[in-house]
């Protein structure tokens, strides 16, 4: 064969190897510059690629040596390599270095080299031909490659020669684009060939004008071919482009032959994908998509399911929020008005209500009431000012007492507010009983009385109680670490000690610890908590009352008993305010935040957290309290869609934990998880992956639990990166761990099943998808109504899988239930739209009445059109249907 020169290096490498192997001749490995050639990986039109050892940094690289003769100096090449090296993206093969290297054989011969990350895998063309792939899988590979192109474009780089052979489907499941900018280097001076590869080149590229849109063109041609759409020639002509080169598609039955296959793309490829690709292949660059991103969005064929639910299904972050706290009155300036409760306009308003009731005794009743309220407010204001002055002038103990007084006064204020609200009804009952209601208000004066501390043990018990309390502290620590059994054990033993000592405050402390530990362990702590609450409030043990009430409130909230939750949390707050310890109040505030967050009242949640933050600022702690608080703040930001703020909070939290505990401490796991998730949400997948992997490693080193959250999140990230096999493995591990630690029926197991189902759905493995969705649905069904959101998601997925499997009747059952539950829990019309659309398609397959279906599609079109961003794909699908199935003629 003629070309001798290009094979010379490989010939020399093989000669040395065989001489050593066959004849024991000592021959050093062949060197090019600072690289030692190990193996030949392959070659393309521009050069050959070796696996090589970079002796300078001692690492294995893929070394590309260009055939193009070296001309001039290496600087322009190096400059371009540096630009490439700066581009770090999971879907782009990393370039380490480039330049000119001297070939060992002949010091007068140099070659351009590019040292890249060594990736094991197949080019996309070979990957496609290796076996029959479902189109969705092919699409997923190209979408990942498209992300790589898009990232390069964002960095101002153009590929210039995008084609299937430059996309590597790694054995690790990741998809990477190769050879960025190479076309520019290899445009040989002598050959006069245009840059790029003829079959994939955009028309303007032939005239030497290449930009991001040319890459888009090549990308579309490659994907078009990969999806079975052929030949590009006619597609191009259809788009008004004369093909550059006779392009055909390989006929799998005749591997050598370039065959022209009819122009149509297979019918199973959705029309909108075809349309999107055709636009990307427009001859006129300005008629293509404005960016790769836009194109990719349009192509995300099977993502509507996932996207519809994103943001609603938690990825595994735990956090918290609550209800509006009263503002703390100032010392001065509110005389007589008690925070607006009793200012002149309110007085006037109430009087008018009374007068207009038309009751004969209304005026008298009003006069009596007005006098009573004036007195009460007068007393209250005086006490408030007294307490306030004490607090400002006094020492620590006086301030503590003043705090307690203020809480007491606050309670009175709320009681008055409630009474006046009732009075404002001004119906017959209210008018008649107003005076008596006022008289029933708790008196103000006792608020100012000093109190004995009944919570401290008599001297003879002091030691034993102190030891028992220390043990409770340990129990609390165990709970925090997830060692629930030990926490429960400790709390129970202290409870027995308290019984034997006959010291009630310790007993309720043990009870509340026990109940909280049980709740943490996902067991029912109601009995212990109820007892603690009831006995603590009888004892005046405010701290325990607050803790018990807030734990019960959270429990109630999780069961959707929001009235009860709110009431309990208010009780907790009042108790915490009575108590001197700002840390308790802070925790209650944070719990209240959680409560509000669980009810999706994010602004309220943030308000509580801000107050908790004020307490933290005023009373700094040495522990992780601030970090925990920051994490909650981040979660609420994240819920409000404020990702930047969420990220800042999570990262700050991480910094603080790391500063206090060092970089290897298992406490970091939760914080890394949050940071990783927010990176994922901001589409910084590679850093998300690194962070989560670090979390995973820390968790494993510690042997501690809860890493299922990390595993699950890693699955999500890998899935988005196109590493489907790895994603499936991570989900699988997460699931195994959840089942081991939380049990088969835990909602987390359902969450992961939903993720797995969605992954399988994406890979067209509908049987498996069905299995996962079904399991998730069964779990959520048992937990109704706690997990209705997830139930709707699972049923939606189940319906999709059934439909894909041709079981339309079963699909209709699942989807109809999804739609019905979705309606009951108040999903927005757009959110409801996804399962509704699926249902309509299933009914269409069952030949439901045409007119009815048509009306449904028209309505869906309107819903998706109004929903706007995020629902473009659904809108397109509905419109496609409507175009193909016009209104029935009357």
């Amino acid at each position: 064969m003629p070309p001798e020169h290009p094979a010379a290096l490989e010939a020399e490498r093989v000669r040395r190897r065989l001489q050593a192997r066959m004849f024991g001749v000592e021959a050093p490995a062949l060197r090019v510059g600072r690289f030692e050639l190990v193996d030949r990986i392959g070659h393309g039109a521009h050069g050959e690629v070796f696996e090589a050892r970079d002796l300078r940094v001692d690492r294995t690289v893929a070394l590309k040596l260009l055939f193009r003769p070296v001309q001039g100096d290496a600087e322009p090449v190096r400059a371009e390599a540096r630009a490439l090296a700066r581009l770090s993206h999971p879907n782009v093969v990393t370039v380490f270095d480039a330049g000119i290297a001297t070939v060992e054989l002949d010091s007068t011969v140099s070659r351009y080299f590019i040292a890249m990350e060594r990736v094991h895998g197949d080019p996309a063309d070979r990957w496609c031909e290796a076996e029959e792939r479902p189109w969705s899988q092919i699409l997923a590979v190209y979408l990942a490659a498209g992300e790589g192109l898009s990232a390069a474009h964002a960095a101002g780089l153009v590929h210039g020669d995008f084609k299937p052979h430059n996309v590597i489907v790694g054995d690790d499941g990741l998809v990477r684009v190769l050879d960025f900018g190479l076309a520019g280097w290899t445009a040989s001076a002598g050959g006069g060939r245009p840059r790029g590869t003829p079959g994939y080149m955009a028309p303007e590229a032939r005239r030497g004008r290449v930009d991001a849109r040319s890459d888009q063109f090549s990308f579309c041609v490659a994907l078009w071919e990969a999806l079975g759409g052929a030949p590009v020639g006619s597609a191009l002509r259809g788009a008004g482009v004369e093909p550059v080169f006779p392009v055909g598609r390989r006929d799998p039955r005749r591997p050598g032959a370039l065959t022209r296959i009819p122009a149509r793309i297979p019918a199973r490829i959705p029309a909108r994908i075809v349309a999107a690709l055709e636009r990307g292949m427009s001859a006129d660059p300005s008629r293509r998509w404005p960016s790769m991103d836009r194109l990719l969005r349009r192509l995300c064929a099977r993502s509507p399911w996932r996207r519809a639910w994103i943001g609603l299904l938690p990825l595994g972050v735990v956090a918290g929020l609550w209800l509006a706290p009263p503002r703390t009155p100032e010392c001065e300036g509110t005389e007589g008005s008690i925070g607006g409760l009793w200012d002149p306009s309110r007085v006037e308003q109430l009087r008018n209500r009374f007068e207009s009731s038309g009751l004969p005794y209304a005026t008298d009743a009003w006069n009596a009431l007005e006098r009573q309220v004036d007195e009460y407010v007068g007393e209250w204001t005086a006490a408030r000012q007294q307490s306030c002055r004490d607090a400002r002038s006094g020492d620590q103990s006086q301030r503590a007492r003043a705090d307690r007084q203020r809480m007491c006064l606050h309670e009175r204020q709320r009681a008055l507010a409630a009474t006046l609200d009732a009075v404002a009804e001004a119906d017959a009952l209210a008018v008649r009983t107003a005076s008596r209601m006022m008289a029933d208000l708790p008196p103000v004066a006792p608020c100012l009385l000093p109190r004995e501390d009944p919570l401290q043990p008599p001297p003879d018990l002091a030691d034993a109680v102190a030891r028992a309390r220390a043990r409770l502290m340990q129990a609390r620590e165990h709970s925090r670490r997830g060692e629930h059994d030990r926490a429960i054990e400790h709390a129970q033993s202290v409870r027995e000690i308290a019984d034997s000592l006959g010291f009630d405050p310790l007993r309720v402390e043990a009870l509340v610890r026990l109940g909280r530990a049980q709740e943490h362990a996902k067991r029912d702590g109601t009995e212990a908590l109820d007892a603690a609450l009831w006995q603590a409030s009888a004892l005046g043990h405010d701290a325990v009352e607050a803790q018990a009430a807030s734990a019960l409130a959270l429990r109630a909230a999780r069961r959707d008993q929001h009235e009860r939750a709110t009431r309990l949390m208010r009780q907790a707050e009042v108790a915490a305010r009575r108590h001197d310890d700002p840390s308790l109040l802070r925790e209650i505030l944070i719990d209240s935040g959680t409560l509000a967050r669980l009810r999706s009242r994010f602004d309220e949640a943030m308000a509580y957290l801000e107050r908790a933050g004020e307490l933290l600022a005023a009373h700094p702690t040495s522990g992780l309290e601030r970090a925990r608080w920051l994490r909650m703040v981040g979660v609420v930001h994240s819920n409000r869609g404020e990702l930047e703020a969420a990220r800042a909070a999570f990262e700050q939290a991480l910094v603080e934990v790391e500063a206090r505990r060092g970089p290897k401490h298992p406490a970091l796991v939760d914080y890394l998880l949050s940071v990783g998730i927010v990176h994922e949400q901001q589409n910084e997948l590679e850093s998300a992956r690194r962070i989560l992997e670090r979390a995973l490693a820390l968790g494993q080193a510690d042997g501690s639990s809860a890493s299922y959250n990390v595993l699950n999140s890693l699955g999500v990230v890998l899935e988005r990166q196109g590493g489907f096999d790895q994603a499936a493995r991570y989900y699988g591990r997460a699931k195994a761990q959840v089942e081991l630690e939380l049990g088969l029926e835990h909602p987390m197991a359902a969450m992961i099943d939903i993720n797995l189902g969605s992954l399988m759905d994406r890979l067209d493995r509908d049987d498996e998808a069905l299995e996962h969705f079904h399991r998730a649905a069964v779990i959520c069904e048992d937990l109704r109504p706690d997990r209705d959101m997830e139930l709707v998601a699972a049923l939606h997925g189940k319906g999709r899988s059934l439909r894909a499997l041709g079981r339309h009747r079963d699909a209709v059952d699942a989807l109809a239930t999804a739609v019905q539950i979705g309606g009951a829990i108040g999903l927005t019309p757009a959110m409801q739209g996804a399962p509704r659309m699926e249902l309509a398609f299933a009914r269409f397959a069952l030949e439901a009445p045409w007119a009815e279906l048509h009306a449904e599609f028209v309505e869906l079109e309107q819903i998706f059109a109004e929903a706007g961003a995020g629902f473009e794909d659904e809108l397109a699908e509905v419109r496609d249907w409507l175009v193909e199935h016009p209104a029935p003629a009357d």
Binding site: P2, E10, A11, R15, Q19, M22, V25, F67, H165, G256
Partner: protein, 191 residues
């Protein structure tokens, strides 16, 4: 300088230096033979060809050159390789081309446009015709030697070479290249 025959015999007696000398003499031609057809497999197949020659040395009667003997073994290796890979025991190089065997046009190594087109055109010829052209024009084998490689009469080989040149010219013209065959190829014996 010892002859190929002497080196081969010495190698067979266990003289590895002799084996190495023989290997170095013929490596380039054999490696090149495989490289453009089987890529990274060339290393293994080159090794098998030399070891095959050692085993079959009794059949090397010295009437032909050792190089011819090696090429005959190499061609058989290649045939066996494609037969096993394609699971087709009847595969013959008479009709099937390298492109038919899956060689990618893009894989044609070339340091110039002219050579690229030539390589590409060659890949479309039936493998035996391509081999005959290559051995005759680039490796400098006489038609008698080429006939030995193919174990065919010399007259047939001459006709193949003539057909091969004609097909090659057609292939090149289909690519829009007008080729004076005598200029594009090194001089050989007239067909």
């Amino acid at each position: 300088m010892p002859s190929d025959r002497e080196l081969l015999d010495a190698w067979a007696q266990g003289d590895r230096n002799a084996g190495n000398d023989l290997f170095v003499r013929h490596f380039d031609a054999i490696f090149r033979f495989f490289f453009n057809r089987v890529g990274t497999e060339a290393e293994e197949m080159t090794q098998s060809t030399f070891l095959g020659a050692l085993e079959a040395r009794d059949r090397f009667r010295g009437a032909s050159s050792f190089r011819t003997f090696l090429f005959a073994i190499a061609r058989n290796q290649l045939l066996l390789y494609f037969r096993s890979r394609r699971r087709d025991a009847k595969l013959t190089f008479r009709t099937v081309s390298m492109v038919d065997l899956g060689a990618s046009v893009a894989s044609a190594l070339a340091d110039s446009e002219e050579r690229r087109l030539l390589s590409e055109a060659m890949l479309h010829l039936p493998v035996d015709l391509q081999l005959a052209l290559e051995l005759h024009y680039w490796e400098g084998l006489t038609t008698r030697e080429v006939a030995e490689v193919f174990e065919s009469p010399q007259g047939s080989v001459k006709r193949w070479l003539w057909r091969a040149r004609k097909l090659l010219a057609e292939q090149l013209e289909a690519r829009g290249v007008r080729v004076e065959l005598d200029r594009a190829m090194p001089p050989g014996e007239p067909p």
